[in-house]
Point group: C2
Chain length 228, copies 2
């Protein structure tokens, strides 16, 4: 009997925003897995930390050069091999994922490699976009609104087009693309309607009106909410 692979959303940052199911699976896990940078930093593990029991086996998938989280195929290959070894030994593996595993999550890369061969269950989590809306005390969408989620990594013309044709927007993965995003928001007259939420629900959460932000970069985990 091979084990089951669980992709478990740990939510946006505050450990209390993890689901009861994630808490149960993580606290009773034999083996957990997560991405990390530089051999140590792992946002997903940091969030789950209060719930990880002593003696849990940990598979840390190290992403060298984690600029903008480009795939790093070799690292995912290596991680998938390690996870598969545990599954083959009959152990379940709980992969920790920031937010929700199927919402722009890096779980994708492990899922692509292993889901065809092993039973795989995804446990949804709270995403950064509704956490950001809660943080600023402003409804994200209501009634008949259309919501659009736009990765800031999109090319400038595509981002401009999508933003021009929208009602409620959450721009995610802002990071070093902030300068480009701010320029487009200004062109469309949307600056005064845009709020940046850095690290929503984390201890270092920061909320700023976009029109008051200088510079071309914000933390990777920044969401900009635009209401037209």
């Amino acid at each position: 009997m091979t084990g089951t692979l669980y992709g478990v959303g740990v939510g946006p940052g505050d450990p209390e925003l993890m689901t009861v199911k994630a808490w149960r699976l993580i606290s009773t896990a034999d083996v957990i897995a997560y991405l990390c940078a530089n051999g140590k930093d792992s946002t997903a593990r940091d969030i789950a930390k209060p719930f990880i029991a002593e003696g849990t086996t940990e598979i840390a998938i190290d992403m060298p050069m984690r600029v903008e989280r480009e795939p790093g195929e070799a690292a995912y290959d290596k991680g998938a091999v390690e996870i598969a070894a545990s599954l083959d030994a009959g152990k379940d593996v709980i992969m920790l994922c920031e937010g929700d595993p199927f919402f722009y999550g890096s779980f994708m890369y492990i899922f692509e490699r292993l889901a065809a061969k092993y039973e795989t269950i995804v446990v949804p989590g709270v995403t950064s976009i509704t956490a950001a809306a809660a943080a600023i005390g402003q409804p994200l969408v209501a009634r008949n609104d259309v919501l659009k989620v736009l990765p800031a990594t999109l090319p400038e013309d595509k981002l401009h087009f999508e933003l021009a044709m929208s009602q409620a927007v959450a721009i995610i993965k802002v990071g070093r693309h902030f300068g480009k995003v701010k320029l487009i928001l200004a062109e469309l007259g949307l600056l005064s309607k845009s709020t940046a939420i850095e690290n929503a629900t984390h201890e270092n959460q920061k909320i700023t009106a976009v029109e008051n932000i200088e510079g071309d970069a914000l933390p990777y985990f920044t969401t900009i909410i635009v209401r037209q």
Copy 2:
């Protein structure tokens, strides 16, 4: 000292998909509030039920004629007055909301009436759209995908336009609009790419390829995921 109003997301259906924070707030609440239909049925209360302590005061906001959940302004007015009375008496009120309070939630209507006067905190929850993606074992969005969330209640031409110009789509609040939605999906050649998830993560969850569904209506809590 007046109390604090909490809008608390209870997630998509499975009580275990409630956050640890929602569980803590609900299980220790003096007063909870929720919408119900016909004087009894409340999806939000059903989800939270395992966590509601005996002796908790309950404010049930009855929505008569709950067709498509049109506002029912009088019912919200009455509910807001009841909630305000508890807040004025110095008690916190925990309002239970399906999914996430600020993601197409009916919490909106209470928020509009009370947030200016009382301290109001929103606790985000797992939404039906990522729960639906987890249920079908298919990533909702990844990498540079644009995600669009479309209420099925939109007029036909608007829905057609938005669907034609999209990559990844979640259509929510399907209910009695299913006939219209299916027609548009057929016109755009998207039928074979669409999956309906009724009551995601509830006990009565049902997953069906849209091309295999007859009739013009599905349950209100149906999400259709379209991948182009």
